[in-house]
């Protein structure tokens, strides 16, 4: 006996999301993911001055706003063939890291953990403590994290004027030069955040967390004080709720590389990581394509590379069930996010945990928190490396014709912009966002996207209309629906 279930509106996912489930024998047999809203940024940008993208694209998304700005600035820089001066590069890294880490914090405390407060878990021994910490409007840790986030974003008040929709990120660098006195204050703000993480989230120094080299070390540390700090509180739920086998992804992970360094490399190198691999494969961006078979969008004869991408609504298209296209890398479904960055970026614990369990609810959340511990010290180093008095931004002159690709890593994964300029105007602008990958619909061959695959097998309890296991899986990707369709 199978039945159908239409789940929505999802909240705490940034944007609107609907999931259609077929249920058989108490488990999800198949899933279709519907990104329910279309705004048409790729249409709006047509014919505009290329620099206008810097005003429009951050407004695709209120939570990955800077990531969008960075991708656009890099696309424009690629069009011109320039890269920012060292200070501009460092300032851009700092601005992006503020957003990405804030998003990780927001995800864990405000979006993901509250689901464990649901009455369905009232019989669990940890439930009262989890409610004390994570109930959305009253949880002690939720409130503390919201306050820490507010303070954290004051870094962007100084580094970029405001957040979201920070417009200080330019192809030539950053419009806001930082002087030596400001740097001292910014370092103090980073230390304040470090203290929050070390006292509340990790109950341990960041360096201890990043030195946990494998799962044995992680769980030995957990056993010393199973509810000490919020990471260990989460770890205590993992075996009890089987989160280490819930929501397996496709086993292929994409990162474009995060936080470029002046030597041409990345602080977190990118690549394509295949399950069981010893090292990452290089990413061939030419093999990216988008298939619109199941989207309410016009479809070409074959899937298109973003240089030639097409975005034209066809709301009455048969067989379509979402506004999202299906991105593929070399024809394959991939997963992206902090888990991919930490795999390709060589983080030992995440590699070990994913080797044992795959990309699942537990490892996705673990990777995000490890990334918090790993990037804060990088930011401290970037601030120290700024050279007050040296240039932060170089003026650039755009050509009348050309094209540029801008790649970035948002909190939730790989973001790419492909810009074509003709006669000084935008002739095409294509955006492939992280959740476009993760929440992709089926492609022409009928192959489901990463979340659609991850939901198969999820348990559905009797009389559940919004199955809690489905919610854990959906939110473990930290989806951003407004970016997905844009």
């Amino acid at each position: 006996m199978s039945s159908r279930l239409l789940v929505g509106p999802f909240n705490r996912v940034e944007g609107d999301l609907e999931v259609a489930l077929t249920i058989a024998d108490g488990r999800v047999a198949s899933a279709q993911v519907n990104a329910t809203m279309y705004r048409g940024f790729e249409q709006i940008l047509q014919g505009k001055d290329p620099r206008d993208a810097l005003v429009y694209v951050p407004r695709i998304c209120g939570i990955c706003s800077v990531s969008q700005s960075v991708a656009a600035a890099r696309a424009l820089a690629d069009l011109v063939g320039v890269s920012p001066p060292p200070n501009g590069q460092l300032a851009t890294n700092l601005i992006l890291a503020v957003e990405n880490l804030a998003d990780h914090l927001t995800h864990f405390y405000l979006f993901f953990m509250p689901d464990f407060c649901r009455p369905v878990y009232a019989d669990r021994p940890w439930h009262a403590e989890v409610c004390r910490r994570f109930l959305p409007d009253s949880g002690e840790q939720v409130r503390a994290a919201t306050a820490a986030r507010q303070r954290w974003f004051t870094l962007l008040g100084t580094l970029g004027g405001k957040w979201p929709h920070t417009q200080s990120v330019e192809p030539g660098g950053s419009t806001r030069a930082i002087d030596a006195a400001e740097r001292v204050r910014l370092l103090a703000r980073v230390r304040e955040f470090r203290r929050f993480l070390e006292q509340q989230l990790f109950d341990a120094p960041l360096e201890l967390i990043t030195s946990l080299e494998d799962e044995d070390a992680l769980w030995a540390w957990h056993a010393r004080d199973p509810m000490g700090g919020d990471l260990r509180c989460f770890l205590s739920l993992v075996p009890d709720l089987d989160l280490q086998s819930l929501g397996p992804g496709p086993g292929r992970y994409l990162s474009y590389g995060a936080y470029p360094l002046s030597d041409g490399g990345f602080a977190l190198p990118g690549g394509l990581w295949r399950h069981g691999a010893q090292e990452a494969d290089p990413v061939d961006t030419h093999s990216i394509s988008e298939d619109a078979t199941h989207a309410w969008l016009a479809q070409a004869r074959t899937p298109l590379h973003p240089w030639h991408g097409l975005t034209r609504p066809e709301p009455d298209k048969p067989q379509a069930y979402t506004w999202n296209k299906a991105p593929r890398l070399g024809g394959e479904v991939i997963e992206t996010g902090a888990i991919a960055r930490q795999l390709t970026g060589g983080q030992a614990l995440v590699r070990d945990a994913v080797q044992r369990h795959g990309g699942v609810v537990y490892t996705r959340v673990l990777a995000r928190l490890i990334e918090l511990a790993r990037v804060v010290p990088l930011m401290e180093a970037w601030l120290q490396a700024l050279q007050p008095g040296e240039r932060f931004c170089e003026p650039v002159h755009l050509p009348e014709h050309g094209r540029g690709m801008g790649l970035s890593e948002a909190a939730r994964g790989s973001l790419g912009h492909w810009l074509v300029v003709q006669h000084g105007r935008i002739a095409n602008y294509q955006i492939v966002a992280p959740t476009s990958w993760n929440f992709s619909p089926r492609d022409a061959a009928g192959v489901p996207g990463a979340l659609e695959q991850a939901l198969v097998g999820a348990p559905v309890r009797e009389r559940e209309k919004t199955p809690v296991a489905v919610q854990h899986i959906v939110r473990s990707f930290d989806p951003c629906m407004v970016c997905t369709v844009h």
Partner: protein, 331 residues
């Protein structure tokens, strides 16, 4: 005060901005002001069927709705069907839900410029037929129509901005909860006067450069951005430089132009955002309330009187000439 918050054709950035409100206890701050969030897309536990039950009970009259906050434009397309945003799990367009719920609300608030005027989502050829709750750019109308009044008798309150400032939202909600907000507290575009009766120019840290028309010429320059860089701060209604953003920030302090994000139609200025449109070398957009002849005369006078320090610093990203130190008691 029971508040319901819905998001449609926008980016969610006004909610993300709201969470940056300057308080040590966001959740406690709202509660202490008597503001009860019935549901918010980023902040509430309820999902799926629980949310739909709540919406239905408001429409049926079982649950009192004091303030409906809508974030994001209202997507009327394609062909008036509203199908560019169907509220998940309902099979119905979001504009249907907004109309039904607005009819039950004591107050209706447009949170951000998308919900107020259409905003960024209405840019270009406006592919989704996006509009605001009661405006379409500067024209009255929008989704709810020019004559709409909420239960309180007020029109839609336009807390415009892209994003909107967290304090603009919270101060409006607190005033409503305290029942101290009246129609006279709205400006002619139905924005709360407490922030819309200021200009972005007020408190701008670049004011010395403005006074001497010492202008920035490229991104990151310290000079005034009005003459070349597209800055509209002298015309735009908002208190961004009096009530800074994220601690000590604002657009102009961040090194980029004010693009008039609190004003209707800002998304299509008719010129590239980063360039000031000029006729015969004079900016088309002159400071609010300033006659053109005066501006031209003052500008030419002040340009000729610009101190060297101001002139040089205007085109650098840090102070290259420091203010003179006079070792006397200043008169």
């Amino acid at each position: 005060m029971n508040v319901l918050w819905l998001q449609s054709g926008g980016c969610g950035g006004c909610s993300m901005s709201l969470l940056c409100a300057d308080t040590t206890d966001f959740q406690g701050h709202l509660r202490d002001a008597g503001i009860e969030m019935l549901w918010h897309p980023s902040l509430s536990l309820a999902s799926g069927d629980d949310v739909l039950a709540l919406l239905q009970s408001i429409i049926d009259g079982g649950m009192r709705l004091d303030a409906l906050c809508v974030e994001g434009s209202l997507l009327r397309g394609p062909n008036g069907t509203g199908r560019f945003h169907m509220l998940a799990g309902t099979g119905l367009p979001m504009i249907h839900w907004v109309r039904e719920l607005a009819a039950k609300a004591q107050h209706v608030l447009a949170i951000g410029s998308c919900a107020a005027w259409g905003g960024i989502t209405a840019g270009g050829d406006n592919p989704t037929d996006a509009c605001g709750l009661q405006y379409e750019d500067e024209r009255l109308g929008g989704l709810l129509g020019p004559d709409f009044r909420s239960g309180s008798g007020l029109p839609v309150i336009n807390v415009a901005g892209c994003p909107t400032h967290p304090s603009w939202v919270i101060d409006t909600l607190m005033a409503l909860a305290a029942d101290t907000f009246r129609e006279g507290d709205l400006d002619p575009l139905a924005r709360p006067r407490f922030y819309a009766d200021q200009l972005v120019h007020h408190g701008c840290t670049r004011n010395e450069y403005y006074e001497f028309k010492a202008s920035a010429e490229k991104p990151s320059d310290l000079g005034c951005m009005m003459e070349h860089m597209g800055c509209k701060g002298t015309q735009v209604h908002a208190d961004c430089n009096i009530r800074p953003w994220n601690g000590e920030g604002s657009c102009t302090r961040g090194g980029y132009a004010c693009i008039a994000c609190t004003e209707p139609g800002f998304q299509e200025p008719g010129h590239p955002f980063h360039q000031t449109p000029k006729i015969a070398g004079i900016p088309v957009g002159l400071p609010t309330d300033m006659p053109k002849a005066w501006f031209v005369a003052l500008a030419s006078l002040s340009k000729s009187a610009t101190p060297k320090r101001v002139k040089h610093n205007a085109v650098a990203d840090h102070l290259v000439v420091k203010p003179a130190v006079r070792k006397t008691r200043l008169k």
